[in-house]
């Protein structure tokens, strides 16, 4: 089941493509934290990941942190293996941490269904926005900037104007 709005962020401690482990507590200083389910192989992620980088770069000086997590079953989808994640992150020069949830326990705690799918938490680590990054995979056709507006609101201590949207993308590849 997907995490409900206003719920506390479930803890995690996962290996990152940078060679270090990263836990929820490591981001305690961030006033707003976005956890985005992602992966390597999905065309929707590929279409949106440039915007994920731009959002991290744009709000990083205000303490915002974006963390991407891949939980996909790499046995069935080898392009989502941890080694492939390292290669992809290096190639794309991600300005955010990219973590691997090999046993899918973190995905089962948050309940994402799609990649990309955003869980945005305020300074108390309560879920304030869940869903899509914006309203179009085609960057030139975007008219609603859900995540940016939610980040702005959360940074100012306000409730986001839109709190939930349907994520659009590939399914998270859970093991059966």
């Amino acid at each position: 089941m997907t995490l409900a709005l206003a719920t506390d962020a479930p803890p995690f401690d996962l290996p990152g493509v940078d060679g270090a482990n990263h836990s929820l507590e490591d981001y305690a200083d961030a006033p707003v934290l976005a956890i985005v389910w992602s992966c390597n192989h999905c065309p929707y992620v590929l279409a949106w990941e440039g915007r994920m980088s731009a959002i991290q770069r744009g709000y990083g000086d205000r303490g915002f942190r974006l963390v991407a997590i891949s939980s996909n079953d790499a046995d069935r989808y080898p392009t989502d293996s941890f080694e492939a994640m390292k290669h992809h992150a290096s190639e794309q020069d991600f300005p955010f941490d990219y973590l691997y949830d090999a046993d899918q326990s973190v995905a089962r705690a948050y309940g994402p269904e799609r990649t990309p799918e955003v869980f945005l938490f305020d300074s108390e680590r309560r879920l304030v926005y869940h869903g899509a990054i914006d309203d179009s995979r085609d960057e030139g056709a975007v008219s609603e900037h859900y995540l940016r507006e939610a980040i702005e609101a959360a940074l100012e201590g306000r409730e986001p104007p839109t709190r939930e949207t349907p994520p659009v993308g590939c399914t998270v590849k859970y093991r059966e």
Partner: protein, 100 residues
């Protein structure tokens, strides 16, 4: 003309691909049905040489030669637009070229 759209319903892009294909066929005056083929298992993906959803074949030929060579899999297929951007569906230009 035989037009087949193979899809896996775990990927949300096939309705958009079908809509674009219908537009392109209409614009070119092609009056042909689109045969929708669902691929639901790894074994079926292997048997049909299905490199991901959606896959469009016109008279048996994939509209995207490059992507057609990918290993069979139940996955969302990645296309690349003429400017290099990735996309979950082929471009209009790619479909038009396949009709010529």
């Amino acid at each position: 003309m035989d037009i087949e759209l193979l899809y896996w319903d775990g990927c949300p892009s096939y309705p958009e691909a079908r809509e674009l294909l219908e537009e392109v066929l209409a614009a070119h005056g092609v009056d042909a049905d689109i045969r929708m083929t669902h691929v639901g298992t790894d074994a079926e993906a292997e048997r049909r040489g299905f490199p991901g959803s959606p896959t469009i074949r016109i008279d048996g030929r994939d509209v995207d030669d490059r992507g057609a060579a990918a290993a069979p899999s139940l996955t969302c297929r990645v296309y690349y637009l003429s400017d290099g951007r990735p996309s979950p569906i082929p471009s209009r230009e790619e479909l038009e070229a396949a009709l010529r």
